[in-house]
Symmetry: D2
Subunit: 488 residues, 4 copies
């Protein structure tokens, strides 16, 4: 059940990625990879992928991705001498794309051994998997796995004679779940879990609450840098992109209501305002509401403007934000879409009634037609617009991958006792380090503190630069929680 939900969610994310990769896909034959016996050019057969012959093509994809992920390449160079992951045995379960390959080859360059499965049954780029297998990685993944294949691949990563993982890199929590269920004793040797997704992080916090988390876990999803890029900066661009690609709508003069003024909502509002739309905001949190006011948006209840708006965008992470009653009152041609964290924000199910006609007018675009002829334009059936109908820039993926690599290094090298059996946010210093590795992309030049200035501010010259109560925190200030040395 949960798997189904995840598969759906990840599928749409994959569809996003595939915009850039689709022209490279090729489906050769119908035999299941599980029934084939393949070896790479060095005679190694410890993998299971679609077609090892696609390796060259996959290599080219990886090389192009390397150009756009300078931070990982820098990390390779900077940390290679000391091999901070020497001895690490990483089992991973993520989307298998060119960007992931750059991450895996970086981990390898830093000393780690890796075994990898896909976290989604549709998202594997077969050529990339081939290139990884050719390069000696034990990859178990292909595009179009069955549910049985999915768990089989994960099991093949974990259940190996003479090799036991000591680090987990997970995206969605399925790999972690599998080990908990099948091989709980493995956790004795595991030094930590790095988890990227909202869902996986949620599961970890639940484990922690229940007292069942038996190793430290790093919540990569909520790192400052990742959040800012996944949400504010990325959504600022993808809301425009997603709407244009699906509807060709002109933004100028359009009336838009954005539900929710968190980072995602802020990005959407800023972009649409800049393009000449008139934007209304709804909020439940008075602090975010006041920010919306100060940023120049009318704060309304949805009902106040639902009759007049041309576009409705949900960014709340909540459920049933737009319900049938709202949809009934929208005007002809109104576009409805979701940029939030779940696919429940728009009550799409309520539109599956006999008196309404659905007409698929384009990929990801449905007209829902009322008996009086009114048409509502529903995008991506209420799933995430930015993942379904636009693409995720490599730059954003680079930030995530770099954060994952650093989290692995931190957990693997942390002295005894630094991390307990709990879920941790990334130390701010590591967040700052991820950011610093991405500055050269912008030819940006950081200023260094003088000794005198550092002393005046009571800061280490190398950071971290902000107190942990910077901006959002309502726990007592406790500096002890903040400062400790960091491996790089």
């Amino acid at each position: 059940m949960i798997l189904q939900f995840l598969a759906k969610k990840k599928l749409s994310r994959f569809l996003g990625h595939s915009f850039s990769a689709s022209y490279t896909d090729s489906s050769d034959d119908e035999t299941s990879p599980r029934d084939k016996q393949q070896k790479n050019s060095k005679g190694n057969g410890d993998f299971c992928i679609k077609n090892i012959k696609q390796a060259d093509f996959g290599r080219r994809e990886i090389e192009i991705a390397e150009q756009e992920m300078p931070a990982l390449m820098a990390l390779r160079k900077r940390a290679q001498g000391e091999k901070p992951l020497a001895g690490a045995k990483v089992v991973g379960c993520t989307h298998i794309t060119a960007q992931t390959a750059v991450l895996m080859e970086t981990l390898s360059a830093l000393g780690a051994q890796c075994r990898w499965a896909a976290c989604n049954i549709y998202s594997t780029q077969n050529e990339v998997a081939a290139a990884l297998a050719e390069g000696g990685f034990s990859v178990f993944a292909w595009k179009g796995e069955s549910e049985d294949d999915f768990w089989w691949c994960i099991d093949r990563c974990v259940n190996v004679e003479g090799w036991q993982p000591n680090m987990i890199l997970d995206d969605g929590g399925d790999l972690t779940h599998w080990i908990y269920k099948k091989y709980p004793s493995m956790f004795k040797k595991i030094k930590g879990i790095v988890e990227e997704s909202v869902t996986g992080v949620h599961r970890l916090y639940q484990l922690s609450k229940a007292g069942k988390l038996c190793v430290p876990a790093m919540n990569v999803n909520d790192s400052v840098t990742k959040q800012k890029f996944d949400n504010l900066y990325c959504c600022r661009e993808s809301i425009l992109d997603g709407l244009k690609r699906t509807t060709d709508v002109m933004f100028g003069g359009k009336q838009v209501v954005v539900c929710g003024y968190g980072e995602v909502g802020k990005g959407c509002c800023a972009a649409l305002k800049a393009m000449g739309s008139i934007v209304y905001v709804t909020e439940i949190d008075p602090i975010c509401a006041l920010q919306a006011c100060m940023d120049g948006f009318r704060l309304v209840k949805l009902n106040e403007v639902i009759r007049q708006v041309d576009i409705v965008i949900t960014c709340t992470g909540n459920k049933n934000v737009v319900v049938r009653e709202h949809l009934d009152r929208m005007k002809n041609g109104c576009i409805v879409c979701n940029m939030g964290h779940s696919n429940t924000e728009i009550d799409v199910a309520s539109l599956r009634t006999p008196e309404l006609t659905w007409e698929r007018v384009r990929s990801q675009v449905d007209h829902v037609i009322w008996p009086d002829g009114k048409r509502i334009v529903l995008l991506a059936e209420g799933r995430l617009l930015n993942l379904s109908c636009s693409t995720v820039p490599t730059f954003v993926l680079s930030i995530t991958a770099t954060t994952q690599a650093l989290a692995l290094i931190e957990l693997y090298n942390a002295p005894e006792g630094r991390y307990k059996q709990d879920v941790y946010l990334l130390p701010k210093k590591m967040d700052e380090y991820v950011a610093s590795l991405h500055l050269p992309t912008f030819d940006a030049h950081l200023t260094e503190l003088t000794d005198e200035q550092a002393k005046y501010l009571g800061l280490n010259k190398n950071g971290p630069f902000k107190p942990n109560y910077y901006r959002y925190a309502d726990v007592p200030f406790n500096p002890c929680l903040l400062h400790h040395d960091f491996i790089l």
Copy 2:
């Protein structure tokens, strides 16, 4: 020594306030208030102010301020029935202005008794003090106190027969300091300290670190709402205002470098970019640096652009950010000013050398002239531009005052054990409440969660609405620290 510094700092803030109030000032005679015996119309003489006859004029000032502080007025109404401050004896030390008077009369309406002194020797509005005295408040303050007067007034608030404070409201820490020094035993009955200023908060953390803090203290300065308004939103407007009032400079096409991209820097950059300036940013923190890049600013070292810019603005809170070497390289007519937290950001002392000529061309504006005729336009002698040369909107003061009132209520009513002898940030729920009280000003309508939605999100319908790791926090997530009931 510290007092000197504070007096200077506060003086400039007062100058800001006085923009709106200066036409109401009148200096009647030269007798020291300490030598006069005055009584109000009810025969009460427990106060010491300039001239009780100015009460009517002060009352009008207070009434005008009430119109612009709807949140406090709402608080009066909402909480008046239950009188949450019944029994509270508040001793306060703040600027004494019409806005403060609205706060004091609110505290009184909620059940508190108040005695009050000024936190600055120049900032008292005499008419307002008169109106307060006429209304029965024990106020000890006038414009133009000597240092001896200053401490005498504070002492008169605290040292009373038959009355002992149980709450402290401080701005700068001088009142707290005085009680620590003179009447330490008073702390037995004191339930808590509410402190507003950066300096005062710093002193409290030092006390806490040294294990000498003997009551809970609330750091009002770092509440989300106050920070956003004092910094981002207020500076977005005051940077333009301060520059215009002093130099009449046209912003369009000007090249500007802003040192520091925290909230203050973000506000300055956004405003100047919007007015058509070309803005460069310097930063030491890579996360803020990356934000500057994504927001469209070239990130540079100061030396890279110092020769070409028309305006230099410091927003770092650091010292010696702009030094003589930079000033020597600036072009003729370059404007230099400071929006940061200290008056040390620009090394003004380095300009006090014989070869440079200073010419005061307008209030707060100096031309510093090099031997070759080059002129640098230095504003407010390097002190805070927005406090010296622009005004603080009442709306911002309203947010601060409301936060202070709520902090007093919270500390006074907190059950045994909720707060220990430490410095606390405002519970997020109170921050949210302050925000909600200010929404009607914008005719803003908040959306309420349905029961179903609240359950789905795992939130209380009345907030708080954000996890405590929202955006900036690097401590382990611990929900226990977050939720507790709140009096209002």
Copy 3:
């Protein structure tokens, strides 16, 4: 030769349109329409199209377009009683799309008879042509005409027994050219030409200069409303759309140089600045250059920034703005594209040399690879990005079509002597009328002058509202040229 150029230009425009229409295209058989004998359901066979059976599908397309072209629908209603085109025989040569069909049916509703050919050999929507033929229009056009077909179709529109056109609606000048060449005597009965394209207008001015223009012509291309929408507002959105669809580039933090700061450049710069790019501008005209400065852009020569920028955009209408020397100096991964009026702005020919490798990585996207591995990303081979790689919103097409309709009405109804054998811009009052017909789309409410105000301003209450020297004009003020009555 000219035809070739036009076909190329128009092809790319068509490709833009087809984004929205491509899912409706179907190619049935290979027989040339010229070899088929088809009749509509009423037995009429005076047309030549691909397949009359597609009429129903085309009708649905037209109905959807009608919803988005409220101005033409309003014009139908408002002017229908008096039929201002009664007796008009309009021969037209434009793209044949659903939007054009709405125009043609409007002209018909206003009293005109119409015969129509396509102005481009690829741009006809066959289903729409079928719907028009079924509705009784004499349409001669299909997708994929040969050059011979192209002229044959035009000739079939013009050369009819017992029917002679008295109005020409042209897009590109080919129809006008054909009549000049083959049937010059027809001009005796022709009351005027309405021309939409830059190229066609240019040809008309040349005819006028040479003294060979024998009827009045209306330059619809340069109407204020059309210009603003085709250029500023449309490009503000399409630059982002075109770049995203082709390259998925993240705009935040990117350095961009925009060559030319006319309306197109202004739109591009505003959009990219709003998305967080750092934008440089080049200009030849000091007035536009000063505007760029005041709008916050560094004005540079291309050479100053060519090494550092991530994106180069040409918007000049000039030739060889970006030449091989610039391309040689760009950094790896630099994106190069053209938003200007010609395909000569980038010297693409200079890249067709043996040492450079071209790699087509996606539709409309080429990597040009230097011997050292440097890749330049060239979009649309230097043709117009917004027409090749994004779409034109129906709203923009609606403005053009409405303007064309009004121009026809004006020329057809103008009293003797109002227009001579010259090229005219649309009377401002008509421009204002086009604008007013589009205001309801935005639920926008215009204010009306009171009688007293109109008198005070010396204006007619119904406009025109601006003197003819408003903003850009350097001819003596001559009010006589301005005011005359207008038919609607």
Copy 4:
């Protein structure tokens, strides 16, 4: 009667200027300058000013202004060799400020003889007048002239034995009016009039219409560059400045209605939107209305929003835009001000009724109080806010002064027949030249056309660069009107 109006209007402008100059004013004695006999250090006494002893101080003011008027200084250098004004005898009537002095000394450097009076009885900077007299200029002006003084001064400029003007530089038309009335025969020798103000230009067009204009006149007011700077760019900044200086209002979240979306309205709207205000627009012209929509503003009628807005700004040039009925419906605290061309936009007279109380709360700020206690904040009594309550940047004055100088040169040197007895706009090429002289201020680098490009575009490499129908023109295209050589 007209004079009264002008004096009022100019007075407010003067008040604007005086913001920067007020600290230099000194009033020495009460004797009328007409009763004093003064001589400069060279024994010359052909002037009448307040006090020749202030010359040194005035000289310093002029030198500071020179630094900020680089275009005039460049003009001096560039044209000095050939002295294009050799033989010119210019009589001028303008505000006499440091900026005007830079203009006068430039005219002199180019070969002209000048005699000058003030166009406003209050606006003369006495020290500057003294410096000019000391430098040999025949200046007749002082601060605080009577109406009789005003005309006496003008007469002393014109009515001189042995000297007759051949050029007029006027601001407001009073000088021109005086010569028409008293010395009409002078026009035989006068080569042209250069007029800067709206009012003066209006009078010239009326003369022209009536067939009474007997020399060519140059309308400097409507030059593109001046218009853009006086309106769009200057107002974008001065609306914020004017509101802040008078009311200290916080812009964020405020609801504002701007009446009129011409250049002034566009500037106001852009600035307020950027500061976080929610802006509504009213318009009578559908083209401007559509622009407002596309720029993201709700287009409304004033009545729709009058109850909810916090600020009302008029920018129409019309009368009675805000009337008593609107004022009655505004909410408590609403700020009302005028940025348009006349002081009639707000019907201030309607507020002078017995039931309303006026309270002057600050310079230029009145509270108008309704019987129920509602207060409206009226700024500058409805006169121009930006001239009354903010300052005009020297950069804007520099553009105007440079344009005046070039217009004089053009008219003085134009070959017989180029200009007839009509009112002319500045040739575009001169507009471009003014712009180019101001680019170095921004370190802006103009691109030059190659020969090949100029040929391709059909342009002269030195401009003009735009056809005369660029953007706003509704007269037939006539290239003959456009191109002619230009003296510089």
